[in-house]
């Protein structure tokens, strides 16, 4: 087990290094940030000075080397736009995005799994058919368009919920969290719902498919033949077999939700990492983009690791096969 984790850590470092390389040089190709940041009528001297100040006059290799040195210590460069360490800027915005993603995921799973279970166990009942029809529609709705509609309906027409921005925050464990009280929560509801809709549909469909598939298998019949109560047959035998593919998907989707927040944050003007990175890309604020991507990759790999561990914890066939 420790070998496994160590190997994964090594891979993580490799991936981070590769990412940094790709992004750094990739962004370099796009253009000169100075052109964007400095007043267009500034003369060459001004531009040269700006470049020197930002360290952009050095050869690219040297720039990358400086970056790497800093990266080891956690220093990932200074934002051109903000004039502050890029990492600091990112970390400042991270809780906002994470709480949104978390809320969305919780919504999706808490609603999705029970609905999917029901739809799978009683596939011909009309509630089940309604659920499935609704899930296909939910799955097909383009997120950004739904966001627009949500604002139109709930904020503009009905006026129930605020349309943009993030609510007041409280300090929790050193982080600024807004969703733990209603004042903040109501700002997060629409964007979280927007993010959750797609995943909810996905989870419903997946759960139902799994239930349908697994219910036909002999071990379910055998469990019933043993006289086990229904709640155990479904809650233990069926559920455990369903959870395995489900966990993988949920893990992947969590990462996707964090990333897709980019769009939702743009529409709802939610001050998270996503909005930051889009602006940074267009403004060629390289350090911020690089820092963001490193952060995201790290989170993703972490999630992947947790999913893999969960997978082998749940499926004994995989866990015990690895030792063969």
């Amino acid at each position: 087990m420790t070998v496994f984790i160590l190997r994964r850590l090594m891979q993580t470092l490799l991936v981070l290094a590769a990412t940094s390389l790709l992004v750094f040089f990739g962004l370099y190709v796009i253009g000169d940030p100075v052109e964007i940041l400095v007043n267009p009528v500034a003369d060459e001297v001004e531009k040269a000075r700006a470049r020197a100040a930002l360290g952009l006059d050095k050869p690219i290799i040297e720039q990358y080397w400086v970056f790497l040195k800093g990266a080891v210590t956690g220093e990932l460069g200074t934002s051109f736009v903000f004039g502050r360490p890029a990492m600091e800027v990112i970390l400042e915005r991270m809780p906002a995005t994470l709480e949104l993603a978390f809320l969305a995921m919780v919504m999706a799973v808490a609603l999705g799994v029970p609905l999917g279970l029901y739809a799978g166990l009683r596939p011909n009942s009309w509630p089940a058919k309604t659920i499935m029809a609704a899930s296909i529609v939910g799955f097909s709705l383009p997120t950004f368009w739904v966001g627009l509609l949500l604002i139109l309906v709930f904020a503009v027409q009905l006026g129930w919920l605020p349309s943009t921005g993030r609510g007041p925050t409280q300090e929790v464990l050193g982080l600024q969290i807004s969703i733990l009280h209603w004042e903040g929560l109501k700002y997060a509801l629409l964007p979280a719902l927007n993010l959750a809709l797609f995943k909810l549909s996905l989870i419903i469909r997946l759960t139902r498919a799994q239930v349908r598939e697994q219910s036909l298998l002999d071990y379910i019949k055998f469990a019933r033949a043993k006289g086990l109560p229904r709640h155990r047959v479904i809650g233990v035998h069926l559920l455990k077999n369903i959870l395995i593919p489900l966990i993988t998907v949920i893990g992947l989707e969590l990462g996707s939700v964090i990333a897709f927040a980019v769009v939702t944050e743009t529409i709802f003007a939610w001050p998270g990492m996503g909005k930051l990175v889009i602006d940074s890309i267009f403004q060629l604020d390289r350090p911020v983009v690089v820092a963001y991507l490193m952060m995201i990759v790290f989170m993703f790999i972490l999630i992947n690791l947790v999913v893999d561990l969960a997978y082998s914890a749940l499926d004994p066939r995989v866990r015990l096969a690895e030792h063969r």
């Binding site: 529609v137 383009p142 368009w145 996707s256 983009v289 993703f300 790999i301 992947n304």
Partner: protein, 298 residues
């Protein structure tokens, strides 16, 4: 129940019959056919060519649905946008682009991913390890960001966005293909086949690939719909497709600014078209998946 006197039905017929069991799927199929036809015939059936700048009349800008053109000659069934373009025509053309980009990228990504994934499962060893690490890395990047960065680097253009979409999708196919093939690989009959020295190509093609196919098709339909949605999202954010060939996403983006002032049709109708396209693909894909699933004991 077994029995020999059952009339022999060709597999294709049975497949069609099973597919047709779901009315919803049939509706989806009809919608999809309609969408594809519209996309193919756009130049023919559009009341107006929305890209012919000469034909546009700024006087007709931002007209609500049902209004006639200022100069007479046509009625704007779905209204006009900020430049006086007929929404209906713009939507037809937009459908074309959206569909083309989504399908092309999906097909390429599936082929690429499936081949690599199944190979990895069969060959195993370092090749599999390396490939799966690459897949992990690839999947470790959020799709939308990969596409974002790629398009920022590559610039605008239909081919560029297809490249970006393929780059985003192939890993998902590869992982699915490899998982499915892996389950098969570990089964005893493959060991037996290997022991019999059956050619690897045969094993891969006849056993591993067919078992990978159903989940791949399921993933495939999901992914094509997803690609279309992703392209729309990217266009909405301002990347990928040039304004000369707007997809539905770009049309929605163009209408964003008018939304709050009540001119909903510029954003809403393209969105409906997008929704219907994606929905029809999903309806068909859903039923396909049910019919193709060998484990549902049909």
């Amino acid at each position: 129940m077994s029995g020999a006197a059952v009339p022999v039905e060709s597999p294709l017929r049975r497949f069609c019959a099973q597919f047709a069991e779901s009315r919803l799927a049939l509706v989806g199929l009809a919608m999809l056919v309609a969408v594809v036809l519209v996309a193919l015939l756009a130049p023919v059936i559009s009341p107006q060519n929305p890209y012919d700048l000469g034909k546009l009349d700024l006087m007709d800008a931002r007209l609500p649905p049902g209004e006639p053109a200022a100069g007479g000659g046509m009625t704007y069934l779905l209204g006009t946008d900020g430049q006086g373009r007929d929404m209906l025509s713009a939507i037809f053309y937009g459908l074309r682009v959206s569909l083309y980009v989504g399908v092309a990228s999906g097909v390429i990504a599936l082929t690429l991913g499936a081949v690599l994934g199944v190979l990895a499962a069969y060959v195993g060893g370092r090749f599999e390890a390396v490939l799966m690490r690459i897949v992990d890395i690839q999947l470790g990047f959020p799709a939308i960001l990969v596409a974002l960065i790629l398009l920022a680097v590559l610039g605008k253009g239909v081919d560029k966005i297809i490249i970006a979409l393929v780059a985003v999708q192939w890993a998902y196919y590869a992982r699915t293909a490899r998982s499915a093939a892996l389950v098969e690989r570990n089964k005893e009959y493959i060991e037996a086949a290997r022991g019999l020295k059956l050619s690897p190509v045969r094993i891969v093609l006849r056993h591993l690939l067919p078992n990978a196919l159903p989940p791949l098709i399921v993933v495939g339909t999901v992914q094509v719909a997803h690609a279309i949605a992703l392209e729309a999202t990217l266009s909405f954010l301002g990347l990928g497709l040039p304004t000369t060939e707007p997809s539905l996403g770009l049309l929605i983006a163009n209408g964003y600014e008018y939304l709050l002032s009540g001119k909903y049709w510029i954003s809403v109708y393209p969105g409906v078209a997008l929704l219907l396209t994606i929905l029809s693909i999903n309806l068909v894909g859903d039923q396909l998946r049910d019919v193709l699933n060998p484990r549902l004991a049909r």
